[in-house]
C-alpha cells in the first residue's frame, strides 16, 4: 500500500469513529421517553393479576419511573370498566387485581383488552398502553414408567366457549429451587405441539426435597404474546427427604429459650442463689430469735 493510501484509510477510520461517537452522544443526550407497560399473569389457573410498569427509555435502556399514577381499565376506558387506580412503587411497578365487580364481564368473553393510562407528569405527557390477551389454562401431569419420571404439560386457550389446544407455546419446565427453576430436562425451554402438549423426562436424580421428600414441579409460560404469563405448580414426592436438623434453638445452650437452659448453668445459678438466699433466710431467723429474746425479757420485767 502506498503512503497516500495510508492517509486515506486513516481519514476514513477517523470519520467513521467520529460519526459513531456523535451518534452515541446524540442517543445519550436525547430526552428520555416515558412509557407504561402491562403484563398479565395467571397462576395455577385461578389467580389473575396485572403488573403495571412505569418506565423511561434512555438510549437503549429502560429506567424505572417511580411514583407514577396509572389507571387500568378492562376492554374500554369507560368508567364502568374501571379496574383500578394505582401508583407505582420505587421500582416503577404496581400490582393490580381484577375486582369482583367485573367478574361477569371477565367470564363472558374469551379475549380481553387491558388499557393502562399513565397520568401526565411534566415534562412527560399522558401515556396509554393496551394489552390484549386470550384466556388460557395450563395443566401439569406426571407419570413414572420403568423408573423414568415424566412431566407432561398441556396448554389450552378459550375459543368462544371451548378449550382448544394451544400449539407453539414456549415454556420452562423444571423444579422449584431457592434461586429459580432448575430445568427438568436438558433444554432450557419446551414448546407445545399441535395437541397443546409437551413432555419432558426428568433427568435429575437425588434432588433435595423437604422433610417428607417433596419438591415442587413448575411449568411457566413467560410473556406469551397471546396468553401472557401462565404458571402451574405440582408438588411431587420425588426428592430426597431432608434429614431434620436438630433445631438450633431446641438445644440446651446459652442462646436457647428459657426452657432449655444448660444443666451446668441451672446447677451453678441455683446453687449460688439458694446458698445466698438460704443465708439471708438464716439471718432473718436469727433476728426473729433476737426478737423473741427481747420479748421474753420485756415480759419478765
Amino acid at each position: 500500500m502506498k503512503p497516500s493510501n495510508h492517509h486515506k484509510l486513516f481519514i476514513l477510520v477517523l470519520f467513521l469513529f467520529g460519526t459513531t461517537i456523535s451518534k452515541i452522544n446524540a442517543q445519550d443526550s436525547s430526552a428520555a421517553e416515558s412509557s407504561v407497560n402491562l403484563r398479565y399473569f395467571a397462576n395455577n389457573n385461578n389467580i389473575q393479576y396485572l403488573l403495571v410498569q412505569s418506565r423511561s427509555k434512555v438510549g437503549k435502556k429502560f429506567q424505572p419511573l417511580p411514583k407514577r399514577a396509572v389507571q387500568v381499565y378492562l376492554d374500554s376506558n369507560r368508567a364502568e370498566d374501571f379496574i383500578s387506580s394505582t401508583v407505582t412503587d420505587e421500582t416503577g411497578t404496581a400490582k393490580v387485581l381484577i375486582p369482583t365487580t367485573l367478574k361477569d364481564q371477565w367470564l363472558n368473553s374469551a379475549k380481553h383488552k387491558f388499557i393502562a393510562i399513565m397520568a401526565a407528569t411534566p415534562p412527560d405527557e399522558e401515556k396509554t398502553t393496551i394489552l390484549e390477551i386470550t384466556k388460557a389454562k395450563i395443566e401439569i401431569d406426571t407419570s413414572t414408567t420403568d423408573g423414568t419420571r415424566t412431566i407432561k404439560v398441556n396448554v389450552k386457550y378459550l375459543d368462544n366457549k371451548d378449550w382448544v389446544p394451544a400449539k407453539d407455546v414456549e415454556m420452562k419446565i423444571g423444579v422449584v429451587r431457592s434461586t429459580g427453576i432448575l430445568s427438568a430436562g436438558d433444554k432450557e425451554s419446551y414448546t407445545t405441539d399441535s395437541s397443546g402438549t409437551t413432555s419432558v423426562d426428568l433427568n435429575k436424580d437425588s434432588l433435595a426435597g423437604d422433610l417428607q421428600g417433596n419438591y415442587v414441579l413448575v411449568a411457566k409460560v413467560e410473556d406469551n404474546e397471546h396468553y401472557g404469563n401462565l404458571l402451574i405448580e405440582k408438588t411431587v414426592p420425588w426428592g430426597v427427604a431432608r434429614k431434620a436438623e436438630k433445631n438450633f434453638f431446641d438445644q440446651r445452650t446459652l442462646w436457647s429459650t428459657r426452657f432449655r437452659t444448660p444443666p451446668w448453668l441451672l446447677f451453678m445459678a441455683y446453687s449460688i442463689v439458694l446458698s445466698v438466699w438460704g443465708t439471708i433466710f438464716y439471718l432473718v431467723l436469727q433476728i426473729v430469735k433476737v426478737k423473741k429474746m427481747g420479748r421474753t425479757i420485756r415480759s419478765q420485767t
Binding site: T253, L254, W255, S256, T257, R258, T261, P262, L265, L266, A269, V273, V276, W277, T279, I280, Y282, L283, Q286, I287, K289, V290, K291, M293, G294, R295, I297, R298
Partner: protein
C-alpha cells in the same frame, strides 16, 4: 476516733444523735425535692408519650439511664468495701465511716434498680422479667444479684443500727416525738443482752463474708451486660475487674465527699478526724492507681492494634467528638486526684473533699463514655436510618430523670441522717471503752 478517750459517753451520745434540719438543711432538702419532682414530671411525660421523648434511637438504645445505672451500681459497692472488707481486715479506724458507706450503698442500689425500670419504658412489664426471664441472660443475673445485694445491704444497715435505735428510744426526751414510733417498731425488742449481742455479731460477720462475693458479682454481672455484647469497646475479657476497680474508686470517693459534708455540717470534727481523711486518702490513691492501670489496659492495647472495626470508636474517644469528655474523665477522675492525694497536704479534709468530688464527677462521665460512644459504632452499621441517629445527646426529660435520680440518692441519705445517727453511737462508745481498758 482521735479524742474519744477524753469525751464522755454522754457527750458522744449527745453529739451523734440525729439533728433537726437547720436553715441550710431545709434549703438543701428543698432543692433535692425540687429535682426529684422535676424528674418525676419528666418521667410522667415519658410514661404518657413513651420513650420517644428521649433521644435514644436505634443506635443508642442505652443512653444516660444506663450510664446512671452503672454509676449507681458502682458507688453502691462501697458498702462492701468499708464495712465488710475493713471489718474482716479489722481496720481500727473504720467506725465513723461504716454507716456512711452503708447508707450510700443502700440508697445507690435502690436507685440503680429504679433507673432500670425507667429505662424499660413499659414498667408494667417488669414482672415478666421474673415470670418469663431466661436464666441464660446476663440481664436476669443482674436482676438476681441487684435484688440480693439490696436485701443484704439493707439487712446489714438494719442490724448494725439495732443498738443505736435502742439508744434513740431511750433518748426520746431529747429527740422528741417525731420518730419514736418508728424507733420502737424497728428495735423495741433490742435489750442489748449478751446473748442478743452475740447473735448480732455473728450475723454481721456472716453478712460481711457473704456480701463481698455478692458485691463483686453485682458489678461483674453489670460489666458482663456489656462484655457479652459483641461491640467495639465492650469486647473485653477484662471488663469485670475493670468495673470493680472503678466501682471501688467511685465508692471511696463518694464516702470521702460524704465524710467531709457530714463532718462540717454536723460538727463531727471530733469523730471524723483528719486521721480518717489521711487514711482514706491513701486508700483512694491506691484505688485510683488501680483503676488507671485497668484503663490503660482497656484503651492502650486496642489502640496499639487499632483494628479497623474499632478504629472509629477509639478515634472518636481519643481525638473526636468524645475526646473532651474522655480526657476529662481520665484527668479529673483519676490523674489529678492521684496527684492531690499522693502528698500529705493533699490528704487534709478540704483537698480530699475536692479530690473526692473530682473522682465522683469523673466517674459519672466515665460511665457515660463506656455506654454511649460504643453504641454509635456497631460492627455492622445500620442502613437507612436518619442522620440524627448517628449522634446522641440526652433530651431534657432524660437529664431531668437522671438528675432526679441522683437527687433521690442524696435525699435518702439526707433523710436517713435526719432520722438515724450517721456515725454509730454504740460502736463509738464501745471503741472508747476498749481504748480506755487497753490503756
Amino acid at each position: 476516733m482521735e479524742n474519744s478517750t477524753v469525751l464522755t459517753s454522754e457527750q458522744i451520745t449527745s453529739d451523734l444523735l440525729p439533728q433537726k434540719f437547720g436553715k441550710r438543711g431545709m434549703i438543701w432538702t428543698g432543692i433535692l425535692l425540687l429535682f426529684c419532682a422535676f424528674g418525676a414530671f419528666a418521667y410522667y411525660r415519658q410514661l404518657k408519650y413513651g420513650l420517644v421523648v428521649t433521644n435514644m434511637r436505634d443506635y443508642v438504645s442505652w443512653g444516660i439511664y444506663i450510664s446512671n445505672f452503672v454509676f449507681f451500681v458502682a458507688i453502691s459497692l462501697v458498702g462492701s468495701l468499708i464495712t465488710a472488707i475493713f471489718r474482716l481486715a479489722n481496720v481500727p479506724w473504720r467506725t465513723p465511716l461504716t454507716r456512711i458507706s452503708e447508707i450510700i450503698a443502700v440508697s445507690a442500689i435502690t436507685f440503680a434498680a429504679l433507673i432500670i425500670i425507667v429505662d424499660m419504658g413499659r414498667p408494667e412489664r417488669l414482672l415478666n422479667l421474673f415470670i418469663h426471664g431466661r436464666l441464660q441472660s446476663p440481664i436476669i443475673w443482674d436482676v438476681i444479684v441487684i435484688s440480693t445485694y439490696f436485701c443484704l445491704s439493707l439487712f446489714l444497715l438494719y442490724i448494725t443500727l439495732l443498738p443505736d435505735i435502742s439508744i434513740l428510744i431511750n433518748a426520746r426526751e431529747k429527740l422528741g416525738k417525731p420518730f419514736s414510733k418508728l424507733y420502737r417498731w424497728l428495735a423495741s425488742y433490742w435489750k442489748g443482752t449478751t446473748a442478743q449481742e452475740k447473735i448480732r455479731n455473728r450475723c454481721i460477720t456472716i453478712i460481711c463474708i457473704v456480701i463481698i462475693p455478692v458485691a463483686f458479682s453485682i458489678h461483674t454481672v453489670t460489666s458482663w451486660l456489656f462484655a457479652t455484647t459483641y461491640r467495639p469497646g465492650w469486647d473485653s475479657t477484662n471488663f469485670g475487674a475493670y468495673f470493680i476497680s472503678g466501682a471501688f474508686l467511685v465508692g471511696a470517693g463518694g464516702v470521702v465527699v460524704a465524710m467531709y459534708i457530714f463532718r462540717r455540717y454536723y460538727n463531727l470534727e471530733k469523730y471524723i478526724t483528719e486521721k480518717h481523711f489521711e487514711k482514706m486518702g491513701r486508700v483512694v490513691v491506691l484505688l485510683a492507681l488501680l483503676y488507671l492501670y485497668f484503663n490503660i489496659n482497656e484503651y492502650l492495647v486496642p489502640a496499639f492494634k487499632m483494628k479497623k472495626p474499632e478504629e472509629a470508636h477509639l478515634t472518636q474517644l481519643f481525638a473526636g467528638e468524645y475526646a473532651p469528655l474522655f480526657w476529662f474523665a481520665i484527668l479529673v477522675g483519676m490523674i489529678i486526684p492521684i496527684f492531690i492525694m499522693l502528698f500529705k497536704k493533699g490528704r487534709k479534709p478540704l483537698p480530699m473533699f475536692i479530690a473526692g468530688v473530682m473522682v465522683v464527677v469523673g466517674a459519672w462521665f466515665k460511665r457515660y463514655l463506656i455506654v454511649t460512644p460504643t453504641l454509635l459504632h456497631p460492627f455492622l452499621p445500620m442502613e437507612d436510618v436518619p442522620a440524627s441517629y448517628h449522634h446522641y445527646f440526652p433530651s431534657w426529660e432524660e437529664w431531668a430523670i437522671a438528675m432526679g435520680s441522683l437527687a433521690g440518692v442524696l435525699l435518702i441519705i439526707t433523710f436517713f441522717a435526719r432520722v438515724f445517727p450517721i456515725i454509730s453511737i454504740y460502736k463509738t462508745l464501745t471503741d472508747k471503752n476498749e481504748t480506755q481498758q487497753s490503756s
